[in-house]
């Protein structure tokens, strides 16, 4: 039982890391640019499709993954220039309307180009096995890889934000946009950079999950809302918050789904417990968010309520 618990903890962490990769870009865009981007999930999907396309062309996993980065960066830049740039000074609601429209347009374009059947991406041979964890229970190497990569990205982001000049400007921009601008920094270029980097991170996340999950036109939708949950629990604009919240959400969701019914069984009859477990499990993440916001109205690491 304890082994199983550990394994599920690992599964939860892996899910959380994935959420973090998507959420990191979004929380920067949201926190620094004060921009609500519903199209962030679509960028994750585009990453998956670009990966599938590159795999079809090169049949080399590592090369394809390397190509995903510049390509999704380019997609981010194009969108920024065409659409987002015009919306920075507008109300959140106009941003919601435009990005919601963008979600429809991009998803439909993907369906027209690639069809709606799920695509699959082959896993590199070297990562396709599984390692023994305890007894008969094994863990896929690739998922361990995802955890490793996620931790690496988190560290790199921390380094950029805390230790570099760009990071300093980002932190300053988040705190007071007009002041940074007045001090002679080209805030528009900074925004473009942040946005494109966020798009690239989301695309990268879409690419690395493509061998585990299939690539389909609905993949962005399902992750978008959880991503928002994560950045709000963590506190908008805080990468550290997004990281902690993503792990928390991933673990709570996985453990709740698997052990909720077992725990409930000890206090009520099995049929009712199974029913109640199925009711409560999918709610847990939202209950977590409501509870966090009840005690800390600006999230775990949020700065101010007035945002």
């Amino acid at each position: 039982m304890f082994n199983l618990f550990l394994l599920q903890l690992l599964n939860g962490a892996q899910f959380g890391i994935l959420l973090f990769l998507v959420a990191a870009g979004l929380t920067l865009v949201f926190g620094i640019m004060d921009f609500i981007n519903l199209a962030h999930g679509v960028l994750y999907m585009v990453g998956g499709y670009v990966m599938a396309m590159m795999m079809g062309a090169t049949n080399n996993f590592w090369l394809s993954l390397a190509m995903v980065l510049p390509l999704t960066l380019a997609v981010g830049l194009v969108l920024e220039v065409l659409v987002f740039r015009r919306l920075y000074d507008r109300s959140h609601l106009d941003q919601v309307l435009a990005t919601f429209g963008l979600v429809l347009v991009l998803s439909e374009l993907v369906r027209i180009i690639w069809g709606s059947a799920p695509l699959s991406v082959a896993m590199p041979e070297i990562l396709s096995g599984s390692v023994p964890l305890a007894g008969p229970v094994r863990y896929p190497v690739y998922r361990l890889g995802v955890i490793g990569v996620g931790l690496g990205v988190a560290l790199a982001l921390w380094f950029v934000i805390a230790r570099t000049r760009v990071g300093m400007l980002l932190r300053a921009g988040a705190a007071n946009r007009s002041m940074v601008s007045a001090l002679g920094t080209d805030i528009n270029r900074l925004f473009m950079l942040v946005f494109a980097a966020g798009a690239m991170l989301a695309g990268f996340a879409g690419a690395i999950v493509s061998p585990i999950l299939s690539v389909d036109p609905g993949m962005g939708d399902s992750i978008l809302i959880l991503t928002f949950v994560v950045i709000v629990i963590g506190g908008v604009g805080s990468v550290k918050g997004a990281f902690c919240a993503a792990l928390l959400a991933g673990i709570v969701d996985t453990l709740g789904r698997m052990f909720g019914p077992i725990i409930l069984k000890s206090i009520m009859d099995p049929a009712a417990a199974a029913q109640a477990g199925r009711t409560i499990a999918p709610m847990l993440v939202y209950v977590l968010m409501a509870a966090v916001l009840f005690w800390r109205p600006a999230g775990l690491f949020g700065r101010s309520v007035a945002r």
């Binding site: 394994l7 709606s116 699959s120 008969p136 229970v137 863990y139 299939s214």
Partner: protein
Amino acid sequence: MRLLALSTALTLSFVSGALAEDPVKIGVLLTLSGPPAVLGEHARDGVLLAEKALGGKIGGREAEIIVVDDEGKPDIAAQKARELVEGQGVDFVIGPIFSNIMTAIAAPVTQGGAILVSPNAGPSNFAGKDCNADIFVVSYQNDQMPQVLAEHMNKQGIANVYLLAPNYQAGQDSLNGFKAVYKGDVAGELFVPLGQLDFSAELAQIAASQPAAVYAFMPGGMGVNLVKQWGQAGLSSIPLMSAFTVDETTLPAEQDAALDMLTGSNWAPDLDTPGNADFVASFKQDYGRVPSLYAMGGYDSLMLIDSAVKAAGTEDREALRAALKAADFPSLRGEFAFSTNNFPVQDFYLTKAIKDDEGNYRTSVVEKVFTAAADSYVGECPMK
């Protein structure tokens, strides 16, 4: 203000669309978007192939086929069904793929005066207490495919099995159908939300319990992911037997990960029946892929309608119902008849995923498991 009036008038005429003439009108209501869209595409292509085979005529009359996407959402489907029946005035609706959608569209279609022909979904309530003279299920009853596997496991003497299905009507039907026939122990049972794509947590539970076999029902994209993650989680030593999880809609994505996995079916591309080889060849030629049982269901649905319209026309409702019930059409499955509940009596086979000589991934018949089988809900249906 004038602009507003004008735009409202425009909108209204825009919404109204084309007007009905005399031809036989058939609405095709399938899931054509979202992860399971490929199932709907197969069924749609099956219908269109049948139309082509019939020279564009149904029962010798001009025909109009209107394809509509239900988006996989019951509420949208109910709305679209009403639009087809009341707005477009269709005589028949072919659909849906998913059982939960059947619940939503049955009333709008039949109360609106059309006949519903299901190419795939066959929920238990419509076979039993809610059976309806205007609903014909060409495919199967949901319980039957899993029962093929349950019977096979009984024969193999598999002592305990873990069950996995999405939490919706067809998923529950599927597991109940399985348990009604399976004689061994159920090691555990997991329902996942419809649309879930990551099975790592479920696979861990299964690995920990080490059952002798696993039965799963995971249609469309869910099946693709389950099969891919199965091997990755190191579970290859446990046989995964499934219904609607490994077939021609999912194999192109599952590929080698699914090879040799067993499935229950009422049809396979290499089933030796009159006309089947031609159907498979022309489907491959026109749509560039191997047809699945969904494509077969679409094809048979239109052929059934054609035979009934030929025999009885569309005016006399009673005659039309009787002609449909006679099922006097050349099914790709060979022998085919309707029970009193308008669900089929047919053979069922154990099938297996293979890579054929042309390099296509497809299913292949292993053995016949049930002969001329009717479903187990017929007795609850008041229709005689």
